[in-house]
């Protein structure tokens, strides 16, 4: 069921006036409003997302993970090397996955794949990254703390952990909000359909068919 907001953004291409009946009618226009703005190959950049909180947080996460990765890659010799390898793995994976999610959200590609719950995916990613970054940074700080590159990697690791933690917190809050909203919307749709079906009974054309 669409409310009037959708009708306002609509250019009137594919719906005819005859289909628009009273607001309480079950026959609502079912056509999608077609957008005029076209990007490269159908892709357009969602600047609102990038300017918003989550976009900025994601950018910060990607940059911090990248910096930490570069710092750890410049180290040539280590004793022991296990902490280094673990931190490397964590920062590399976080970088790629967060970067992919950033790309998806900023280009609005997530709408094209409705089968996956992208918000949940984002939440899981940030949660895991927070945990792993904290663990890896602690391990690295404990084992390797002699050279400048190692110390820099630890610092960036902790910073990334902090940003991921903030992101997790906000994502959890958003998820809780959206689940509450969804349940309330579902119940209101049901009520509306029920009241409208009762009204339909008094329609003359329907009565004629029964005869």
């Amino acid at each position: 069921m669409r409310n009037g907001d959708d009708l306002e953004g609509f250019d009137g291409e594919a719906s005819s006036a005859s289909m628009i009946s009273a607001a309480s009618s079950p026959y609502q226009p079912t056509t999608e409003p077609v957008s005029q703005r076209r990007g490269l190959g159908g892709l357009r950049c969602d600047l609102d997302y990038l300017r918003g909180t989550f976009g900025r947080l994601k950018l910060a996460e990607v940059l911090l993970a990248l910096t930490a990765f570069i710092c750890i890659e410049t180290i040539m010799e280590c004793s022991p090397c296990e902490g280094l390898y673990f931190f490397e793995f964590v920062s590399c994976s976080a970088l790629v996955v967060t970067g992919a999610l950033l790309l998806l959200f900023s280009l609005n590609l997530h709408t094209r794949i409705p089968q996956i719950n992208w918000n949940l995916t984002d939440l899981v990613n940030t949660g895991l990254s927070t945990f792993f970054f904290s663990f890896a940074s602690v391990v690295l700080a404990a084992l390797n703390h002699k050279t400048g590159a190692e110390i820099a990697a630890v610092v960036f690791g902790f910073l990334a952990m902090a940003v991921y933690a903030v992101n997790t917190f906000l994502a959890v809050r958003k998820w809780q909000l959206s689940s509450r909203q969804q349940s309330s919307r579902q119940s209101s749709d049901y009520i509306r359909a029920r009241t409208e079906s009762r009204e339909v009974v008094h329609r003359p054309e329907i009565q004629r068919l029964d005869a």
Partner: protein, 723 residues
């Protein structure tokens, strides 16, 4: 002394005649005042008769070198014995005075003076009584001995008492060149007085011998070096004598090999190619005589090119047996070199010599490099004249240790470690691996490794204060960059996933086409068939099932539609005829599905009889004989389509031009009508395999793939017919 010889010979009075056996060339001479006679030149000393009491005394024995010549150039060196005889003093005083008793000849200046003066005076007094004696001279050489007996008379005059009587000169005693000759002289009188002297027979260094003795005439060698060859000139060979030139390598473990021997008798030039010239190449030449003297010349010892050639021909071989390294340096000549171990971390890089570990190279066989343990990075260099001549490495052998190990040097005194790299030993506090990174990062770890024993000790010093070498593994401190590979994998997976999710429909279509494409490669791919069936329910069901099954095998099937009765049944006839004609034209297979109504229609053509109710009734297995059953009428009416189709088929069947296949529903039709027996008939579903094979046609290779489908098609048909 030498001047006296010819003087005495000039004053000889009596020439001794050669008597008895012995060399006829032996000669005897006495000075004036003495008379002597050579009794025998080869007596057995000691067998002479004893004479009276000492009358003549021996004063002196002298030996002189001389030459005995048969020809002017064929002389033999020998020793001449000169004995000086003296009369002892008067008988009364003879016992007392021993003045002129045994005196081995020392300096003969006074004696020669006496002897020279006495001789003329002695010749005057012949009236005095004589004193005789037997002088025996024995010559002892290595391997030969000779005794000569000489009889001497001397006049007894009181003036001669106590003075020299004269000289007896015996010529000569022979012996080989340069050998020792022991000559003794004694008289046979009772008081045995014996003089002996030992002297060396002259050798070829005596100028008189060089010209006269043939053995001393050795050819001379002259070597003239050139760019590509060396010319050896042999000159001065004695005429008539041949000589031998011998080229050989002279080194400490004997002269090697037979060398090269050239024998010729005229002066000649021998040409030696330059690449055979080595520093130890020596030349020897000698004449072909008995016990010849040889001239040896080693002219190439200081030739730099010869040394270069020698190094090019020498070889260093390393053997590893367990923990012991053995080196063997083989060369044609003796080498003065040192074996120095060196460390080479990079195969193509420089090898850093390890000082203090060198060993002189011993020429005799393989030598053990004690104290050094093998490691893949170790090499052995041969140093000579301040430069490296040969190098041999252990890199290609299976040895414990890794090529990226680090060499640590521990000074025995203060136990401080330093890393050997790039020509210097850097202390661990400022050591960086790979040239970059934090200096001194690995100091503690490496020290711990050495203490724990993780490092391999390469050098065990013989004394406590020497250096110790350790090879420490470094690979566990150098990190690998597999994270970059992991990043690539993640990115690739992310891209792939994104692509799949965005282009869902395309992917699905592609997958479907894959599946359809696989299915379309069915066993009956590319063949077309026309399925003719009667318009009765069971036939239609069977036709539908068969069509679906055959289409799934890739066969393109067109079935004649049924339905309706009367004129409605005839509706599709033009289309049917068109299909039939097209099938015949394109050589498609035409399947005649025989159901009861179809059999009834086919029986119209039996034996050429057309529309004979009786015969029809008689041959039909359904319905009674006599009367055309009303039940038959609907069957005939329904089969008009089939009958109409058969009207096209019959003439073709008769000529056997088309590809007709008859499929009989065996549950309903017991036998194929005679009219259709010209075509191959199969009872379906039991003979489904044969039926499908007939549909597949002459393509033999498809036949093998039919088995899995036979059961499926038969089951589909069974289900359709059974319903």
């Amino acid at each position: 002394m030498h001047a006296l010889g010819p003087l005495l010979l000039g004053l000889v009075l009596v020439l001794g005649s050669a008597g008895g056996r012995g060399d006829p060339r032996d000669s005897l001479a006495c000075s004036q005042g003495l008379t002597c006679r050579l009794l025998d030149t080869d007596v057995l000393c000691g067998t002479e008769p004893a004479g009276p009491r000492q009358e003549l005394a021996l004063a002196r024995l002298r030996l002189e070198p001389a030459l005995r010549c048969t020809e002017p150039t064929a002389c033999v060196p020998c020793l001449e014995a000169r004995v000086r005889l003296a009369l002892p003093p008067a008988a009364s005083t003879a016992t007392g005075s021993r003045r002129l008793s045994v005196q081995p000849g020392t300096s003969g200046t006074e004696d020669s003076g006496d002897g020279g003066q006495r001789s003329p005076a002695a010749g005057a007094s012949t009236s005095h009584p004589n004193v005789t004696g037997l002088l025996l001279l024995s010559g002892l050489a290595y391997g030969s001995s000779r005794c000569v007996a000489v009889e001497v008379w001397a006049p007894l005059s009181p003036t001669l008492r106590g003075r020299t009587v004269g000289w007896v000169i015996f010529r000569c005693f022979e012996a080989p060149l340069g050998s020792e000759l022991h000559i003794s002289a004694y008289m046979n009188s009772r008081g045995r007085q014996r003089l002996s002297q030992q002297q060396r027979v002259p050798d070829c260094s005596w100028p008189a011998a060089q010209a006269a003795v043939p053995q001393c005439q050795v050819p001379r060698l002259r070597v003239s070096p050139g760019q590509k060859e060396v010319v050896v000139e042999v000159e001065g060979a004695a005429v008539g004598h041949s000589y031998t030139l011998w080229l050989y390598h002279n080194h400490s473990h004997g002269t090697s090999g037979p060398g090269r021997v050239v024998t010729t008798s005229s002066p000649m030039n021998y040409v030696l190619p330059a690449d055979e010239v080595l520093p130890c190449l020596c030349l020897q030449v000698w004449p072909e005589t008995r016990d010849p003297l040889r001239t040896t010349l080693c002219p190439f010892y200081h030739d730099a090119e010869a040394w270069e050639r020698l190094w090019a021909q020498s070889q260093l071989v390393l053997h590893v047996e367990g923990q012991v390294l053995t080196c063997s340096l083989s060369a044609p000549c003796d080498l003065l070199a040192e074996l120095v171990p060196c460390w080479q971390p990079v195969p193509s890089g420089p090898c850093q010599p390890l000082p203090g570990l060198q060993q002189p190279a011993g020429g005799k066989g393989p030598q053990e490099f004690g104290g050094l343990r093998p490691h893949p990075n170790l090499c052995v260099q041969v140093w000579s004249g301040g430069q490296v001549r040969l190098t041999q490495c252990l890199r290609d052998r299976a040895l414990p240790g890794r090529p990226d190990d680090l060499l640590l040097l521990e000074h025995g005194g203060n136990a401080s470690l330093c890393a050997v790299e790039r020509g210097a030993c850097t202390p661990l506090a400022s050591f960086t691996s790979r040239g970059a990174g934090h200096p001194g990062l690995l100091e503690q770890d490496l020290q711990q490794d050495v203490a724990v024993g993780q490092c391999q000790q390469l050098w065990h010093p013989s004394n406590r204060t020497g250096v110790v070498l350790w090879a420490c593994p470094l690979h566990k401190y150098l990190r690998t960059h597999w994270a970059l590979v992991w990043m690539g994998v993640l990115l690739g997976a992310a891209c792939l996933l994104l692509l799949l999710l965005l282009k869902k429909e395309d992917v699905k279509g592609w997958l479907k086409s894959l599946r359809a494409g696989y299915g379309s490669k069915g066993v009956l791919q590319g063949r077309r068939a026309l399925l003719l069936h009667a318009a009765e329910p069971v036939a239609e069901r069977a036709a539908c099932a068969l069509m679906a099954a055959l289409q799934s095998l890739g066969l393109t099937v067109v079935a004649a539609p049924g339905g309706g009765s009367g004129v409605a049944a005839l509706g599709p006839l033009p289309w049917l005829h068109a299909q039939h004609h097209r099938a015949l034209r394109d050589s498609d297979t035409i399947i005649l599905l025989l159901s009861p109504a179809a059999v009834a229609a086919a029986q119209q053509w039996d034996a050429g009889a057309r529309v004979v109710p009786e015969s029809r009734a008689a041959e039909s297995s359904l319905g009674p004989r006599q009367n055309p059953d009303p039940d038959d009428v609907p069957s005939v009416a329904l089969c008009e389509v089939f009958a109409a189709a058969l009207s096209c088929a019959m003439p073709v069947l008769a000529v056997a031009n088309g590809h007709y296949v008859v499929a009989r529903l065996e549950a309903l039709v017991p036998a194929v009508p005679p009219a259709l027996r010209a075509a191959p008939a199969f009872a379906v579903p039991s003979q489904m395999e044969g039926f499908l094979r007939a549909l597949a046609g002459p393509a033999q290779q498809r036949g093998r793939c039919l088995e899995p489908y036979v059961a499926a098609v038969a089951e589909a048909l069974q289900r359709a017919v059974g319903q």
